[in-house]
C-alpha cells in the first residue's frame, strides 16, 4: 500500500485523514511490513466505507485486512440509526456469521500421535465437508424456522451438546430479533440438507497443539496449558447465509437511489437502519447468525462423537465460539457518551474487554477469548479482549488473511506437494481436492504471528496462546 498521505501514530497505527466524501477518518492497524504488503484496494475501500451515512468515529482496518467486497476484509465500522446510519449486506459478507470455535480436550500430543492417521480418517468420514456433501439432518419448513429463531438452543433441543455450551457462544448461542419470515424460500431450500456441514474454501476442522503460552493468567482462565491438544472448527451459516447475502446485496444495490445513496462501489450496497429494507435484512441476517450457531453446534457434536470413540470418557468442553462476519447491536462509549450502534465486522472478531457486562462470568476478569484462525500448516492464536478503553469498538483481527490470490496459489503449488511437505512436519491433511489444497497452501497466507503481534501491540487484544496444527480436515 502506498502510505503517502497517511499519518503514522506509533508503530502499529496509520490514520487516513478525511478527504473527499469521507465523513470520518480511517484507521489502519498494522506494522510497517504488514501495511507495505496490503493492497491499495484496502485504502480505497476504507475511504469508501468512511463516506457511508451515519458512520461513527472512524472506519477501521485490522492487521489482516485485504481487498474485499465494498468493505475491506478485516474492516470494522459502526453506524448510528439516530444519525441516518445504514446496514450493509456487503459489510457483513456472503458467509454470514462465519466463525471459529475451539474445544478443549484435556489430551496431550502424545495421546494423539499413535492414532493420528486413523483419527484424521474418522474426522474426514464423519464431518460432512466440501462440494456435494450433505448433513444427516433435513429440516422441513417448521423445523427450519425453529432453527433460525433458536440457534444453538435449537441444536441443544435436538440433542447436540449440553447447556454448558451456551455460555461459551456469543449472545449465548441465540441472537434476538431473528426473522425467519424475512428469509426467502430459496435460502431455506439451499439450507435444507446443509445443517452440520463444514463447507469448503478456507473452512476447516483442525486438531491443534498449544505450543506457547503468552499470558498465563488468561490461559488458565481459558483452560489452556502448554502442550494441550484443542480442536478448532471454522465454518458459517452455509447456503442459507450465502443466499441471504446474494439476495439482499442485489436488492440494496437496486434500492440505493431511492434512499438517496450514491455508491462509489455497488458492493457497498446498504439501506438505512430505519427503513423496511434495512430492518428486513437485519432480521434475515440475525436468522443466519442463529443458523451458523446451530451449524457449528452440530459439527461440534459430530466431532465429540469421533473423539469419544478414540478417547472414551474424555471431556471436550467448548472454550468459546466467535463470529467474524457480522453486524451486531452494541453499546459503546463515543466521545464520553454511551451510544447504541450497529457494528459491522467483516472479517473481524468482537473482542469484549475485561468486565464487559455481556461476558460470561468465567471470562469477566480476563476478557473475551478471541480466536484467530490460521491456515493448514500455519499457527492459530487465542487472544483476550483488553481492559478499557476499547479500541475499534472492541474488535480484533480474524485470521492471517491472504497474501496471495487463489489463482496465484494454484499456479505456484500442487496439492500433493503441499500435503507431502506438511506430512514431513507431522501435519496430516485430509481434503477431497488437490487443487483446493494448493489454493489454501500455507504460503498463500500472511504470517499469522505477525498479524497477531500487530493486534497485540496496537492494543486491540492481547496474546494468550499460540496453536499449531496436527490434523487438518478441509472441505
Amino acid at each position: 500500500m502506498d502510505t503517502n498521505g497517511l499519518k503514522q501514530i506509533g508503530d502499529t497505527e496509520w490514520q487516513v485523514p478525511k478527504s473527499g466524501a469521507m465523513r470520518v477518518p480511517g484507521v489502519i492497524f498494522a506494522d510497517a511490513a504488514l501495511i507495505n504488503d496490503m493492497d491499495n484496494k484496502v485504502l480505497e475501500q476504507l475511504r469508501n466505507v468512511a463516506g457511508l451515512p451515519g458512520i461513527v468515529e472512524a472506519a477501521y482496518a485490522m492487521p489482516d485486512a485485504h481487498w474485499g467486497y465494498g468493505f475491506p476484509i478485516g474492516g470494522v465500522a459502526a453506524f448510528d440509526p439516530d444519525e441516518g446510519g445504514v446496514i450493509s449486506a456487503g459489510g457483513v459478507g456472503f458467509d454470514i456469521s462465519c466463525g471459529v470455535r475451539t474445544l478443549l480436550t484435556g489430551l496431550k500430543r502424545a495421546d494423539i500421535e499413535p492414532v493420528k492417521k486413523s483419527l484424521a480418517d474418522s474426522l474426514f468420514r464423519n464431518i460432512p465437508a466440501g462440494v456435494g456433501s450433505t448433513g444427516k439432518i433435513s429440516l422441513d419448513e417448521t423445523e427450519m424456522d425453529a432453527m433460525l429463531e433458536g440457534g444453538a438452543h435449537w441444536a441443544l433441543a435436538q440433542g447436540y451438546g449440553g447447556t454448558e455450551d451456551l455460555e461459551r457462544i456469543e449472545e449465548r448461542g441465540k441472537v434476538a430479533g431473528a426473522r425467519p419470515d424475512a428469509v426467502s424460500t430459496y435460502a431455506k431450500k439451499r439450507q435444507h440438507d446443509e445443517m452440520g456441514t463444514l463447507g469448503s474454501g478456507n473452512h476447516y476442522l483442525e486438531v491443534q497443539e498449544v505450543t506457547r503460552i503468552h499470558d498465563a493468567v488468561a490461559a488458565a482462565s481459558f483452560g489452556l496449558r502448554l502442550g494441550d491438544v484443542v480442536v478448532s472448527i471454522h465454518c458459517g451459516s452455509r447456503g442459507l447465509g450465502h443466499q441471504i447475502g446474494t439476495e439482499f446485496l442485489r436488492e440494496m444495490a437496486v434500492a440505493a437511489p431511492d434512499f438517496g445513496l450514491v455508491l462509489p462501489d455497488l458492493e457497498l450496497a446498504c439501506a438505512p437502519l430505519r427503513s423496511e429494507l434495512g430492518q428486513r435484512y437485519l432480521g434475515a441476517m440475525r436468522a443466519a447468525t442463529n443458523c451458523a450457531y446451530a451449524n457449528r453446534q452440530i459439527v461440534t457434536h459430530l466431532t465429540r462423537r469421533v473423539l469419544e470413540h478414540f478417547f472414551p470418557g474424555g471431556r471436550f468442553d467448548l472454550l468459546f465460539d466467535v463470529s467474524h462476519n457480522t453486524c451486531k447491536e452494541e453499546w459503546h462509549a463515543v466521545g464520553g457518551k454511551r451510544r447504541l450502534l450497529f457494528v459491522h465486522r467483516k472479517g473481524a472478531t468482537r473482542a469484549f474487554g475485561v468486565g464487559h457486562s455481556d461476558l460470561p462470568a468465567a471470562f469477566a476478569a480476563v476478557g473475551q477469548p478471541v480466536i484467530i484462525g490460521g491456515s493448514m500448516g500455519t499457527s492459530s492464536a487465542i487472544l483476550a479482549g483488553n481492559p478499557q478503553p476499547e479500541r475499534a469498538f472492541a474488535s480484533a483481527c480474524h485470521g492471517a488473511g491472504r497474501a496471495m490470490s487463489r489463482h496465484a496459489a494454484a499456479r505456484r503449488w500442487r496439492g500433493r506437494q503441499v500435503v507431502d511437505q506438511l506430512a514431513e512436519r507431522g501435519i496430516v491433511i485430509k481434503s477431497p481436492s488437490s487443487r483446493g489444497v494448493a489454493e489454501e497452501a500455507p504460503g498463500a497466507y500472511k504470517d499469522t504471528d505477525a498479524v497477531v503481534d500487530a493486534a497485540h501491540r496496537a492494543g486491540l487484544a492481547r496474546k494468550v496462546a499460540r496453536l499449531e496444527p496436527i490434523v487438518c480436515i478441509k472441505g
Partner: protein, 140 residues
C-alpha cells in the same frame, strides 16, 4: 471473429470469472463455464441432465449477476455440476439450458464451493475488437 473462451482473474481473497465471445449470450455462457471451472474441469462433467433456467434483470450487469447466482443456487440444491451451457438473451431476459450431472466427489474432486457471484469487478460490454466480455468476482 472472437474465439469463445473463459478465464479466471485474481482477487485478494477470492477469484474472478470472465467469459469472452462474439456475442453477449455466448460470453454469459463462457462466464458460466468459468464458474464451473472454479470447482472442477468442465470437460470432465458429463451432459446427462438438462436443466432449463430463466432470469431477467433491468441491466446487463444485474442479468449477469442473476445468471451466475442462479447457477450457484441450482448447483447447491441439486448437488450438480454443469459442463455445457446454451444461452439466449432477449430484451433483458435470459433463457438457458444447463447440462450436467450429480457431483461425483472422487471423479470431479471439487476444489471449492462458490458462495455467491458478487458485484465486484462486474462488467458486461464490448471490446474494441467487437468481442463481448462478461465478468465478476465470485466469493468461494
Amino acid at each position: 471473429m472472437v474465439s469463445a473462451h473463459y478465464e479466471h482473474f485474481p482477487h485478494g481473497a477470492d477469484i474472478g470469472v470472465r467469459g469472452i465471445a462474439d456475442s453477449k449470450a455466448e460470453a454469459f455462457a463462457q462466464a458460466a463455464l468459468a464458474l464451473t471451472a472454479l470447482v472442477t474441469d468442465p470437460a470432465g462433467v458429463a451432459s446427462r441432465t438438462k436443466v432449463l433456467l430463466e432470469c431477467s434483470a433491468p441491466s446487463d450487469l444485474l442479468l449477469l449477476n442473476d445468471w451466475l447466482n442462479r447457477l450457484i443456487y441450482e448447483m447447491a440444491v441439486r448437488r450438480m455440476l454443469f459442463g455445457r451451457y446454451e444461452v439466449a438473451i432477449d430484451d433483458g431476459r435470459l433463457r438457458a439450458e444447463a447440462w450436467g450431472e450429480p457431483v461425483d466427489r472422487d471423479r470431479h474432486a471439487p476444489a471449492v464451493e462458490p458462495k455467491g457471484a458478487t458485484l465486484t469487478e462486474l462488467k458486461v460490454g464490448q471490446r474494441d475488437d467487437g468481442g463481448w466480455v462478461a465478468q465478476c468476482i465470485v466469493d468461494v
